[in-house]
Symmetry: D2
Subunit: 294 residues, 4 copies
Amino acid sequence: MESSLQVDVEPRSVVLLLHCPLRIGLAASLTEFVYSSGGRILYHDQYVDPEKRHYFTRLRWDVSGVSATDQEMTNRLRTLIGRDPDSEWALYFSDERPRIAVFVSTDPSCLYDILARCHSGEWTVDVPLIVSNHSALEPVARRFGIDFRVFPITKESKREKEDEQIALLRDHRIDLIILARYMQILSGSFVSAYPNRIINIHHAFLPAFPGARPYHSARERGVKIIGATSHYVTEGLDAGPIIEQDVMRVSHRHSVDHLIRLGRDLEKVVLSRAIWSHVQRKIIVYAGRTVVFD
Amino acid sequence: MESSLQVDVEPRSVVLLLHCPLRIGLAASLTEFVYSSGGRILYHDQYVDPEKRHYFTRLRWDVSGVSATDQEMTNRLRTLIGRDPDSEWALYFSDERPRIAVFVSTDPSCLYDILARCHSGEWTVDVPLIVSNHSALEPVARRFGIDFRVFPITKESKREKEDEQIALLRDHRIDLIILARYMQILSGSFVSAYPNRIINIHHAFLPAFPGARPYHSARERGVKIIGATSHYVTEGLDAGPIIEQDVMRVSHRHSVDHLIRLGRDLEKVVLSRAIWSHVQRKIIVYAGRTVVFD
Amino acid sequence: MESSLQVDVEPRSVVLLLHCPLRIGLAASLTEFVYSSGGRILYHDQYVDPEKRHYFTRLRWDVSGVSATDQEMTNRLRTLIGRDPDSEWALYFSDERPRIAVFVSTDPSCLYDILARCHSGEWTVDVPLIVSNHSALEPVARRFGIDFRVFPITKESKREKEDEQIALLRDHRIDLIILARYMQILSGSFVSAYPNRIINIHHAFLPAFPGARPYHSARERGVKIIGATSHYVTEGLDAGPIIEQDVMRVSHRHSVDHLIRLGRDLEKVVLSRAIWSHVQRKIIVYAGRTVVFD
Amino acid sequence: MESSLQVDVEPRSVVLLLHCPLRIGLAASLTEFVYSSGGRILYHDQYVDPEKRHYFTRLRWDVSGVSATDQEMTNRLRTLIGRDPDSEWALYFSDERPRIAVFVSTDPSCLYDILARCHSGEWTVDVPLIVSNHSALEPVARRFGIDFRVFPITKESKREKEDEQIALLRDHRIDLIILARYMQILSGSFVSAYPNRIINIHHAFLPAFPGARPYHSARERGVKIIGATSHYVTEGLDAGPIIEQDVMRVSHRHSVDHLIRLGRDLEKVVLSRAIWSHVQRKIIVYAGRTVVFD
């Protein structure tokens, strides 16, 4: 809905992502707040989890006619929303371009797809940095003029190398990390530095076939459908909140190599949909699951 | 392809399902055999597993112009195909209507769907018997005039009741057993009495969410796609060769009850496709997987 | 979302379906109205068409604690909503069971599916009447104990027969008419007697292949995907507002008969999803299109 | 199936694509021919159109152990296959890399996707030339070091410019032309110079919404599913043989811009699957339709 409004000269806007225990009148207060401050609502979606009585909303409004500063708006919202320990919210202004680091190993498919979307103008994000445990994809980075850093990681060096990576990510003011077929498991302490800000693509329909070599497992089990899953990274392997999944039909005629080839397209599309939902600020994580607004 | 030939007065035909180690010239021998005996090929599909060098074929021909008896044809084929311990084959004549027993508990959806297909003429099969561990669906059986037998099963009585069931199935000359949401696990000895002739519908995308309450697990895990899987029953729970699967997209907005409601349609369609493939003699099981011809 | 609340002893509830030109504060007024009258919101979804600045909402609330009568609630809402010529709304109370007439010709698939859903308790609707231009499906009606009326229609008798049909529908207090593969085009005057209350299933992915024999056209054109479309009936053939569509992959291997067989399952599922959305009061028609809430 | 054999040092192989009126014994003659010449069959698929009694086959074999020259093999096959006016066949050797020209206008998505697949080694093809009626995508060509030629085309200059384009294509020994969102209709004489060797991507589910602005039409009609179609280009606009199609669900919430954004991913995937099937020599065109082998 909102994308129709993004064309050409789009006014400055802000997205509020909020979840909290269900409270009567909150939605009305929020819309009232927007209108009274001179804003124009561009998008408003809400969801109530009926079992947990928990409220989720995404509200986006045009702030070009708002006289209050961003800080003043934030302060007023803080008062309005209040403090509940089971509540979280944030404002995202449209002129803050997300800064993304892509982590890769040797498979270039997802990386190419991400860079093409950035450079074609399809996505309004910056990718200043590519990190790898392998030098294979350096030519791709060079083709697009992006900083490429190799961190060969061994069991012994992992802690140290991850610290270097985090320092580098901070230097580049990275908001979001994409694991684009990065064949290296991140430690819990790395993950906790970027909560719900690391997106991985797993080449299977989770929770089926977690771990390595899922296409081999799929072939072995004789499934008739294969899939791909993008999720936020948590400490548990392939157990983080699922953002997006997709599948395609296969048959006994598909060898493992054929499955891998077909799966690559799934992975690209599923990963890019997840990234796009994240940078559009459409995702709220709660209780190990995602709410993804349209 | 062959269904276009089944309309109206269809001539008598036979299906050969065969798998064996790859042998050069076998396909040519089989087609030569059909032509020389006066048959007309209606369908011929083949598949070679390139890793195992194993050959699978489905050959269907019009036998209305064949002068040899069914037994003579069978004998000649036996000579032609030979005996390999890793080989299996069978002939299925079109005037042998498969006889199906449906096992149910309390959910009528799949049962209604199966009976509607049989009574509308969509399927050319007979369903002379419905078996249940519960009396809930007796009215459905009565509506369609089908014998309905209740076997309440406890841990202690299981062996005895299963023996009675098998005797009943034999009395009814049952070829194929459908577990249409039958909430009772069959013992290994029951299963071995009907190898690759018991089809179950599991209400999840196997191997994700085996066992009971998969929709609860799916909701809990926050998957974005749910599925259903039909498979031949083996001793391992939900581990038998997969025949057919299908999926549909869901979101955080779907409660467990909503998932169950949506999943019911998946289950019906996936189960019925599997039954249809089986009775059309399109499925070969080998190495724990199925080859399902088009 | 709401279905989780329908289990067991569900309290009496009401659905408001409303569309009108976008008006600031209306949503807040509506929720305020519900709370102040003692209601408890079970579901609230809204949509704004950004081009037309038109507002759509579905609001469902528990009225078991509301002291006002239904008529009083309706009156207050009338005042609150006001009168705009481009506005429409209605209240649907949960204890009014929709009464459905099914129109058929000779294909029993959709009819069986509808009746199974009603008799298994999956749907809380009544089907007191089946209308046909052919006697072929009378045994199906008899099996379920439903009144079956045959109206053989010729060009000359059409007007008269349709008048008789409408009289019959009124006698049965029919709310919704389902054309379940009814091979007869309704006249404009019949259609206008049941605006947005006649649902048809078309056996193709509209707007591709309108009219008769779409599977033949699909085969001829060599499409790789076939579909089915359910829509409200308007005067233009197969041009009414689309409610639901679904598709499946096919290939050159599928004959017309095979496409018809596969398509039948699509038709059943797509039609039943449309009916369910309608009776759940999830559909608003505006400007020739539908808004279908989740 | 064959892709499992392409890994690492793959032996030289050849693909035979053949269609002809059904002739008994031809399949056996072809396999016999391969074995007797020292070849090893890697893939064999066949299809008979049961209505037209027309035979289609794709046969691929390892020629590394064949002593005959390519020309000798071709000659023997010519004798074996014979000449039927309704027959066509060709041999494609694995060491002939297809040479592709991509025609574009201003949308870079499909172009980036094609170039990424070529440069990542996913496809074994060469893209020596990009042709456009616009200079917008020159930076993309430069990034990948590919010759980029602009032909601004007016009604008056079309004939002349197309002649220049054909000369250029011949200079580059182009085998296959991809219209990757090329916003210019090719003349009949251009098309006839590359029969079944020009692949277009249409951003809709043909035959629904041919012509320009299909997403606007889809939104206007209120469809619940959008699609993309890749097809060989013939003189009739968007009427050529369909190679591949895919779809995705949408709803009233999707604006035209949102549909365009979602559709872009469909277009990329559908176009690339069609190109891959073509360069793998898996497609036979007959009677305005395609047979696409697995």
